[in-house]
């Protein structure tokens, strides 16, 4: 009820702010950054221009190379499937490494100041390393810098902080990688000349806006015949997403062959809309979503590909990066790091470790995941 009221009030305020007229033309990602579409074929992306290391450094960290360390993992919040999965990956890695004691602890709601307090308390209690997924890249920076200044190693995953507040960040997927996976999946399922619509959160939500900008750039380069019909906002609201998807289907009728869901709410809602409209097989639903929400639609055959990364691997990689930093095996300027069963992962953007290409969940593998 409260969130409904909030949404209503927010919508009213939006209208007041006269900002509802955002047009689909010229997606800029709402952050003034240039797009960088990947190559159309599956070839490995050209090595990005080497950027000097821009991460921070733990001050006078005790030398614990090869010794047992205690690490705490503070995700955005605890108790949800996604971060249970990253936490499992972290625990798996700790087991494989054999010389790490790790625990996951964090706020039960994704609140910036709660997360800051948790990290602050762990700094006081004295750990060797902190893994984090930031609720806000800037707000978390002061407390992370404090950790670094006390000789605690800091590695992020899933959601970054400002680079100088941590040593490394494990990047689950680059924006252009997600964009490529989305557009390629759609072209494969709906055809190279398909017309499609997009349901997103809001035009300015950082990740989504960036993904759409990259999709536009990659589409223009690699799937020039595909037709972009319309992009609609649906917050991250279940009912609104369903309604917006249904509206798109009705408005464009036979013309629309594909529907993108940009949020983990919009994708299952879009699949439900396609199912309810009896358009399974005629309209392809492709989007970012978590496996559990998509299982019914994937099993019914209505949805063929769900794009995301593998959060278990993400946590696993983060733990290996932490160990490598403590052991001195990952230093500024290195080009790759060994991540156990994941093999070698590449360093990108100065101080980020790229997990790899996005993971595509399909009928064959989706049941292996529970989040």
């Amino acid at each position: 009820m409260r969130s409904y009221l909030l949404t209503t009030a927010a919508a009213a305020a939006l209208a007041l702010a006269m900002n509802t007229g955002a047009s689909a033309a010229g997606w800029d990602g709402a952050d003034d950054l240039p797009t960088s579409p990947l190559a159309c074929d599956a070839s490995a992306p050209a090595a990005p221009a080497a950027k000097p290391y821009d991460g921070g450094k733990a001050v006078n960290a005790p030398d614990k190379a090869g010794k047992e360390i205690s690490v705490v993992d503070v995700p955005k919040l605890i108790g949800i499937g996604y971060f249970n999965a990253t936490s499992k990956g972290i625990a798996d890695a700790a087991k494989d490494l054999g010389n790490v004691k790790v625990k996951t602890d964090g706020p039960t709601e994704a609140k910036i100041d709660e997360q800051i307090k948790f990290i602050d308390n762990y700094i006081t209690s004295g750990v060797d390393g902190i893994l984090f997924a930031a609720n806000d890249p800037v707000a978390i920076a002061p407390v992370l810098k404090k950790a670094l200044s006390k000789g605690i190693h800091v590695v992020g995953y899933d959601a970054n902080s400002t680079p100088d507040a941590r040593e490394w960040f494990v990047n689950q997927a680059e924006f252009n990688g997600i964009a490529k996976a989305m557009m390629d999946s759609m072209a494969k399922e709906a055809g190279e000349d398909a017309a499609f619509g997009i349901v997103t959160s809001t035009f300015t939500t950082p990740n989504q806006a960036r993904w759409i900008a990259e999709m536009q750039a990659y589409g223009a380069k690699c799937h020039p015949k595909m037709k972009w019909l319309e992009t609609v906002e649906a917050q991250e609201d279940n009912v609104l997403s369903f309604n917006q998807a249904t509206t798109l289907l009705n408005k464009y009728g036979d013309k629309i062959k594909g529907l993108f869901g940009m949020t983990s709410v919009a994708t299952p809602a879009g699949a439900e809309a396609v199912t309810k409209a009896g358009l399974c097989g005629k309209v392809a639903e492709v989007g970012l979503a978590t496996p559990n929400a998509m299982k019914p639609y994937v099993h019914s055959g209505c949805v063929k590909s769900v794009v995301l990364w593998n959060p278990i691997d993400l946590g696993y990689a983060a733990m290996y990066v932490m160990r490598a930093v403590v052991d001195g095996k990952l230093k500024a300027g290195d080009a790759s790091v060994d991540a156990g069963k994941l093999g070698k992962l590449n360093v990108v953007n100065g101080s980020e470790i790229l997990l790899g290409a996005p993971y595509i969940y399909s009928k064959d593998n989706i049941d292996k995941f529970d989040f």
């Binding site: 009221l5 305020a13 702010a17 910036i112 006081t124 209690s125 004295g126 809001t202």
Partner: protein, 323 residues
């Protein structure tokens, strides 16, 4: 002779049984108990740092005590924190105000938000809980609408002095909180304004018939609540270096918990600033002490809940005995 002795004993017992006294004793016991478990808990560094972290809630809990003493409540304070954070960032970055002016403007907006609450409550006679639930959604919605999900960063360094700096080793905002505690404590305990607050909470009709300025005093209490929420927003933004529209979410509950734990009756008419301060310190240090002892976040919340219930039970059983 016996009568005097017994009344003497009763008044001594009353001081001993006062809620604040019991709470203070519990606090000391909890402090040393947790200190025994963890040698990093009872250090000056940690305690000062905890003071830094509790300031935002503390600043809100002080006027909240006033409001609750009158028998009212203000659940919109968390949303005012969010709105004020956004107003600060927006007026500085987008409207081009110089930062000092933006700070003053933010305080004005906070006070105006509180005044709006007060006006609806006193003029239109909408019950405080309903008024402030409504304005909670309104203020939060405004914050989200104005900010458009963009956060404002990159404040000049001098601004961080409030939230991250210290004076002779004491966090800046803790000094602000100390000052506010004294002002609010004296106002409630030693002034006509304070006594009027109690009178309204005990019996509003009687207060009205006694020619007390009921409406004006209530208006002042809610305005103070909004003003202090905006001060809290300034401290918070300065501490975390960015503004977001979801800032301060849930602060109202933390502040109310501190006030009620401190012995203020939710029905109005009784309560002290000192009790609220002990309540706030107790919640902050319990959370911190439990975390340092290795208790996980979700379990900590449960412990806080149990402490709250226990303290309310003790308070109500004491009150019954007093009557």
């Amino acid at each position: 002779m016996t009568a005097v002795a017994s009344s003497n004993r009763a008044s001594r017992a009353r001081i001993f049984l006062r809620h604040e006294t019991i709470l203070a004793a519990m606090l000391v016991v909890a402090l040393f108990g947790l200190g025994l478990f963890n040698d990093r808990f009872l250090t000056i560094d940690n305690l000062l740092n905890q003071g830094r972290l509790m300031t935002e809630i503390g600043l809100i809990a002080l006027p909240m005590t006033f409001v609750i003493v009158t028998g009212g409540i203000d659940v919109s304070v968390g949303a005012i924190v969010g709105l004020c954070a956004i107003v600060l960032g927006y007026s500085w970055k987008n409207l081009g105000f110089p930062l000092p002016l933006a700070i003053v403007f933010t305080l004005v907006v906070g006070a105006a938000a509180g005044l709006a609450n007060g006006l609806v409550i006193t003029r239109i006679k909408v019950p405080p809980i309903i008024t402030t639930i409504a304005t909670l959604t309104l203020f939060r919605g405004l914050a989200e609408g104005i900010s458009q999900a963009h956060s404002v960063r990159g404040y000049p360094d001098w601004f961080y002095f409030l939230g991250q700096g210290d004076v002779f080793g004491v966090p800046t905002q803790l000094l602000v909180l100390f000052l506010a505690i004294i002002v609010f404590g004296v106002a409630l305990d030693r002034t006509t304004f304070g006594r009027t607050l109690y009178a309204i909470g005990s019996n509003e009709t009687a207060a009205r018939f006694s020619a007390l300025p009921v409406e004006r005093v209530k208006l002042a209490a809610y305005t103070l609540s909004g003003l202090m929420a905006s001060l809290s927003a300034l401290v918070l933004v300065s501490r975390v270096t960015t503004t977001r529209s979801d800032m301060g979410m849930g602060y109202e509950l933390d502040a109310i918990a501190a006030v009620v734990l401190g012995g203020t009756s939710i029905f109005g008419g009784s309560g002290t600033i000192w009790g609220t301060v002990i309540g706030a310190v107790m919640i902050q240090l319990l959370k911190n002490g439990l975390a340092l002892t290795g208790v996980k976040g979700d379990a900590t919340i449960m412990v806080i809940g149990v402490v709250l219930i226990a303290s309310v039970l003790i308070a109500s059983s004491l009150q019954r005995r007093r009557v």
